[in-house]
Symmetry: C2
Subunit: 457 residues, 2 copies
C-alpha cells in the first residue's frame, strides 16, 4: 500500500491515514510518499510514487485536489491495482472548477483502475484487516458479515460507531464519495462474491444512474439481502446533496418502489438500517410471519405485541398442544397463550428454558420474540437459557430484548449472538421491527428469484 | 422503613428488597420483619411489625398474597405512613380469588394509607436515595429531573437501564402495579409539587378512570410537562393487559386525543419516550420551530434535514446577516445556508465554534441541531465547542448527535448535558424528533394554560 501525501503532521489527513493503516498489524508493506521527508512516522518514505519498486496493490491519495491528476498519472504508469482517493474539492464543491477537475480525472482513469472516491474518508476491509481511511478507530469494530456502503463519510462513521456499540460484525465500511469509477453497483457485485459478507447495507443520497443500481440489486439479491437507506427527501435535501456528493437526491418514492421491485428493501432511519444488518448478520430469516412473544415481564410483551400488530406480524394464540404443554409448566397466575408472561418462572430457570423450547418446536410458529429485563432475582435466567439453547441449536430465529445494567448478561448476549442463537435489540419495538424487516425483505427476494414458497405468500 | 417478609434467601424477593435498601447508604433505620429470624442480612429483625417501636414511615410488604391482609391491619394499627405492596396474586391473576382479595384490601385501607401496588417491583426516589424495590441496580442511575411512573415493572426496568446508558437523570421510578390506592393522578400531583422533578413520563396500559388522569394532566401541565406512552393497542392487548394489571387497555385514539386536550403528549415507543424525558431534563424548550442544522459532515445533516421536514420543523436558509457572517468563516467548498456543512472547519475548532455562536445569536433561529461524528482529525472540535459554549451559556436549546467510539468525547458530552448546554442523542433522527416532541408538547401546554405566545402558534 502506498500513501501519497503521507505526513507526520496531525493537522494533515495523511497523518491519520498512516495511523489507520498501522492500527491493525498490517501484513503487507506500507510505502509513505512525501517529497519532503525521508521517513513518515518511522516508516521509510519515497519522494515519488514512481520510486516505489514493488507492485502497488493500493494507492491511498491524500494530496491537495490540484495535485491529484499528477499522482493518478503516476499510478497509471506504475500499474497500481486500485486507488482510494480521499482528497475533496471536486464535483461536490461550489463553482465549476471542481466538476471540471473530476471530469478530467475520469477521462484519465477511464476503466483502467478502480477508484474509490474522490471526497471520501476511505474504506475498511475487516477480513483483510485493511483500514484504508483517515479514521484509525474504525479498526475497533469486530469483523463479521455486514457491509456498509455509503455515500457519506459522516454516516459511515456514525454507523461504524453504532455498530461497535451494538456488536454488529462488519465485513466492509466503504465511503464511495463522488464515485469517480467505483459506484454502488460495483460494490454490490463484489460483496455478492465475497465469502464473508452476509448482508449489504447501502446509504444512498443521490445517484446519476439509478437503473444500474437497481439492476445490480436484482442480480445479487438471491445471494445477499440488500438494505437501502435513502436520504435526501425534499427539495432542500436535493440542494444539500448536490453540494455534498455532486448529485441530486431524486424522487424518494421512485427509489423505494424501484428497490422493492428489484428485491431489496428501503428503510427509513439509521436504527432500522443497522438493526436489519444485525439481524441478517446473526440469524437465519424466519420462514413465515407467525410470531410467539415470550416475555419475562408482561409489560414488554404488550409493547412487543403492539409493534407486531402494527407491522403485520401474526401473534395468534397457541394451538392446544403447545398451550397444554405450557400450562403444565407455568402456574395459572400469568398469561400463557401468546404473549406468554414468564414472570412466575424467574426462580425456575429450567422451567423457563423448557417453555422456550416447547414454543420453538411448535410447527405453527416461525419466529420467537424473547424479552427479559434484569431484576436481580432473575440473574440466572439468561445463562441457563443460553446454555440450553446452545445444546438445542434451534432452527428458528429468536429476536430478543434482553436488558440489564452495566456488564450483567453482556457476555451471554455476545455469545448467543456470535453463535447465531439469538439477536439482541435495545427495545421490544426494535426487536419486532427487525423481525418484520427480515420478512419483508425475504418476501421481496423470493419473489425476485422465484425460489420456494413461504407460509405468508 | 420496615420490610415485612425480609429474607436471607436469594430465592425470595425479601432478600432483594433488603439489598436494594442497603445499596445506597440509607440514612434512616431499616427494620426487617420475619417471624423466624433474629436478624436478616446482619440487621436485627422483628417477629412482627407491631414490635417495631419507632414511627414507621414506609412499610415494604413482600409476604405471600394471603398474608397481606394481616400485615395491612398491623400497618393501620401502627399508623404506618405509606406502603409499597410488592406481593402479586391479586386482580391480575386468573380466577376471582385475587380480585376479591384486592377488593377486601381496598375496603380495609380506604384512604387511610397511600399504597403503591400490589403487584409492583416497588419504587425508587433518587433524591431521597430510597430504593424501595426488589432490584438494587436501580440505584446505579443518576439522580436528576425525569420521573418515570409505570404500570409495568418490566417497562420500568427497561427504561431505568436505558436511562443509565443514555445518562438520563432520574427523580423517581415508580411501579404502580394494580393501583390499590395510588394511581397515576396522585403521582402527577406529587411530582408537580416536587422540587427535583422537571418532567413526568407515564407508561400506561389500562386504567379504570381515564378522566381522573386527564384532569390531573390538565392541572399539572403548566408546572411540569407530561409525556405518556400508551401501550395495549388492540383486542389481543386488552386481553394481555387484563391479565397483567387487572384493567383493559382501552381505545388508543381516545387516549391520544384526551391527553393532547389536557396538555400532555402521547408518544409511540420507548426511545421517543425516554428521548423526550432527556430533552426536558436537560434543556429549556425551543420558543418556536425554526431550526438550524449545523453538521460536522454533510450526510448526517441531510438525514437530520429529512427528519425535520417530516416532523414539520422549519429549516429555512439563513437571512443575509447570518449567511454573510458564516461565509466569512467557512470556505466556499461547503453548504453554508442551512444545513451548514462544518466539514472544512475540522482543523480550526475556533472557527467552528464561531459559526455555532453566530447561528445561536440569529433571532430567526429557535433551536440548533448540531451533529458531529468523530474522525480522528476532528478530536479537538468537541472540547473547544464545549468550552466556548460554557462561557457563552446560550439561551437556545442545542440538540446534538455527537458520536465517537469508546470513551472519546464521553466526558465532554456528559458535562455539556449536566450544565444544560446541549442534549445528546445517538442518531440525527432522534435528535430532531426530541426537538419536535418538545415543540408539540409546549404548544399543548401553552394552549392549556393560555400563557404567552410563541412564533409558531
Amino acid at each position: 500500500v502506498a500513501v501519497v501525501g503521507a505526513s507526520d503532521d496531525p493537522s494533515k489527513l495523511g497523518f491519520h491515514v498512516i495511523k489507520s493503516l498501522t492500527f491493525w498489524p498490517y501484513k503487507g508493506r506500507i510505502h509513505p510518499v512525501n517529497p519532503k521527508r525521508a521517513s513518515v512516522m518511522g516508516i521509510p518514505a519515497h519522494k515519488d510514487l514512481r520510486e516505489v519498486e514493488s507492485q502497488i496493490d493500493l494507492a491511498i491519495i491524500v494530496v491537495p485536489n490540484k495535485a491529484v491528476e499528477g499522482v493518478i498519472a503516476a499510478c497509471l504508469e506504475r500499474h497500481v491495482r486500485s486507488i482510494v482517493l480521499i482528497t475533496a474539492g471536486f464535483k461536490e464543491s461550489e463553482g465549476k472548477e471542481g466538476a471540471l477537475l473530476q471530469e478530467r480525472l475520469k477521462g484519465l482513469v477511464a476503466d483502467r483502475i478502480p477508484v474509490v472516491g474522490p471526497n471520501t474518508f476511505g474504506m475498511v476491509s475487516y477480513h483483510q484487516r485493511l483500514n484504508a481511511s483517515f479514521t484509525p478507530e474504525f479498526s475497533l469494530a469486530s469483523p463479521g458479515g455486514a457491509a456498509i456502503i455509503s455515500q457519506s463519510g459522516g454516516i459511515s462513521h456514525l454507523m461504524g460507531f453504532l455498530a461497535m456499540e451494538q456488536d454488529i460484525g462488519l465485513s466492509y465500511v466503504v465511503g464511495l464519495g463522488n464515485r469517480l469509477t467505483v459506484d454502488f453497483q460495483h460494490m454490490l457485485y463484489h460483496l455478492a462474491a465475497d465469502e464473508f459478507t452476509k448482508v449489504a447495507g447501502l446509504y444512498v443520497e443521490g445517484i446519476e444512474e439509478p437503473k444500474m443500481l437497481l439492476k445490480a440489486i436484482k442480480d445479487v439479491s438471491s445471494k445477499i439481502p440488500v438494505v437501502v437507506m435513502k436520504a435526501g427527501k425534499g427539495e432542500l435535501a436535493d440542494k444539500a446533496s448536490l453540494s455534498h456528493t455532486g448529485s441530486l437526491a431524486g424522487n424518494q418514492q421512485n427509489y423505494r418502489f424501484g428497490v422493492l421491485q428489484s428485491g431489496g428493501l428501503v428503510v427509513d432511519d439509521v436504527h432500522s438500517f443497522l438493526d436489519l444488518l444485525k439481524a441478517y448478520e446473526t440469524l437465519t430469516p424466519p420462514k413465515g410471519n407467525r410470531v410467539a412473544i415470550l416475555s419475562g415481564q408482561a409489560g414488554p410483551g404488550i409493547v412487543a405485541l403492539d409493534s407486531c400488530v402494527e407491522l403485520g406480524l401474526h401473534v395468534k394464540p397457541f394451538g392446544w398442544k403447545t398451550l397444554s404443554e405450557i400450562e403444565e409448566i407455568l402456574p395459572p397466575m400469568a398469561i400463557r397463550s401468546n404473549p406468554v408472561d414468564l414472570g412466575p418462572l424467574w426462580y425456575d430457570e429450567f422451567a423457563l428454558l423448557k417453555v422456550v423450547k416447547k414454543v420453538l418446536k411448535d410447527p405453527e410458529i416461525d419466529a420467537v420474540l424473547f424479552l427479559m429485563m434484569f431484576a436481580s432475582a432473575n440473574l440466572n435466567s439468561i445463562p441457563v437459557l443460553l446454555e440450553g439453547l446452545l445444546d438445542e441449536r434451534p432452527q428458528k430465529p429468536i429476536f430478543t430484548c434482553i436488558m440489564a445494567p452495566g456488564q450483567i448478561w453482556k457476555k451471554e448476549i455476545r455469545e448467543g449472538e456470535e453463535k447465531g442463537i439469538f439477536c439482541n435489540f435495545p427495545t421490544p419495538e426494535r426487536a419486532a421491527k427487525a423481525c418484520a424487516g427480515m420478512l419483508l425483505l425475504e418476501r421481496r427476494r423470493h419473489r425476485q428469484t422465484k425460489n420456494g414458497r413461504t407460509s405468508w405468500t
